[in-house]
Assembly symmetry: C2
Homo-oligomer: 212 residues x 2
Amino acid sequence: VQIQVALDRIPLEHALLITEAVRSQADWVEVGTSLIKQFGMAAVREVVAAAGRTPVLADLKTADDARFEFGLAFDAGAASATVLALADDATIDLAVEVARDRGAEVLVDLMGVDEGRRWSLARRLPPEVVLGAHVSKDAQARGGRPVDLLGDWASGRRIALAGGLTADDVPALAGRPDLRVIVGSAVTRAQDPVGALHDLRRAAGQHAGAAS
Amino acid sequence: VQIQVALDRIPLEHALLITEAVRSQADWVEVGTSLIKQFGMAAVREVVAAAGRTPVLADLKTADDARFEFGLAFDAGAASATVLALADDATIDLAVEVARDRGAEVLVDLMGVDEGRRWSLARRLPPEVVLGAHVSKDAQARGGRPVDLLGDWASGRRIALAGGLTADDVPALAGRPDLRVIVGSAVTRAQDPVGALHDLRRAAGQHAGAAS
């Protein structure tokens, strides 16, 4: 698996320190929606600067106006950005188009959509688009787990998983090099974020630093 | 009608000048999603300072994490903030709860939902919640008009209308003191934003400065 460390609901200075600490061990660093809404694209620019060669995803959760929002994120140095699967198809298609024009990635956040919508997007969107199986923070209170969203629709697609994941969830996902696991507080709120990331890699059956 | 001037996709300095120019004639000033994602809560704080006594809405378009996002907006001085009707009910209910606790308003953006969802929210949500009939920017390219979204579900509710509206749309809406019309580029991209706002008031059958 690949591991993306998501920075959410923490002071920007703290986010930058975590970025510098984990960048050599993380495959991706994510600037969470909370940081974007609090600090705007300054948060993306600063995390990009702190991340060195590790690519940064801007969790825009775009619901509309994809050309403008994706342009902002890529101008700020993001290598990927997110659009909501709940959004209009026109918005998703614009996000895909802008990402392609800019040589960047788009992750479609499947939060809140049903299996029919997952199938429809998996069939329709180009193969480079990442589909993110995601249980929203507010819905996690009901006990939903992102792994329960996986199914045949995901076959052959680039997939990311997000929503309250910890090292306990990772062994079942090991050995899938195309799967990206997105972890937030399990790393960012750990006493030792680098140690927590090592634990995740070990749980995935990986030596620290190896990405597979 | 009430008129809300939405600031989107313009430099922040320009947004502040427009705010100062229109504040005595606008019932609400909106910090658009594009300004929030570009500049974060600094955009809300600065527009609030420029708006004087005119209340400011933060167009967060919250899709998740409503407690944190609504807290940010109200801490920055917003009197109202938006949550997506596409979001989980748990997210919408948290937005309503935080707004109530803070003595602020919540506007549920009905972008992208069907009539069944509009009915369900209109029946379920407390009466102080504003329901926003909205055709997204990206969907406007297909020719949708927000007024076409109105129907019996809106009866007895506080309603806002948004999506490419101009002075031509306003006469049909005159005489509804509870209806809020949200206008963006029709004011902000006019040669004379104050004159454009006067034209909207006249089209609504109002003398300049009168709100009804």
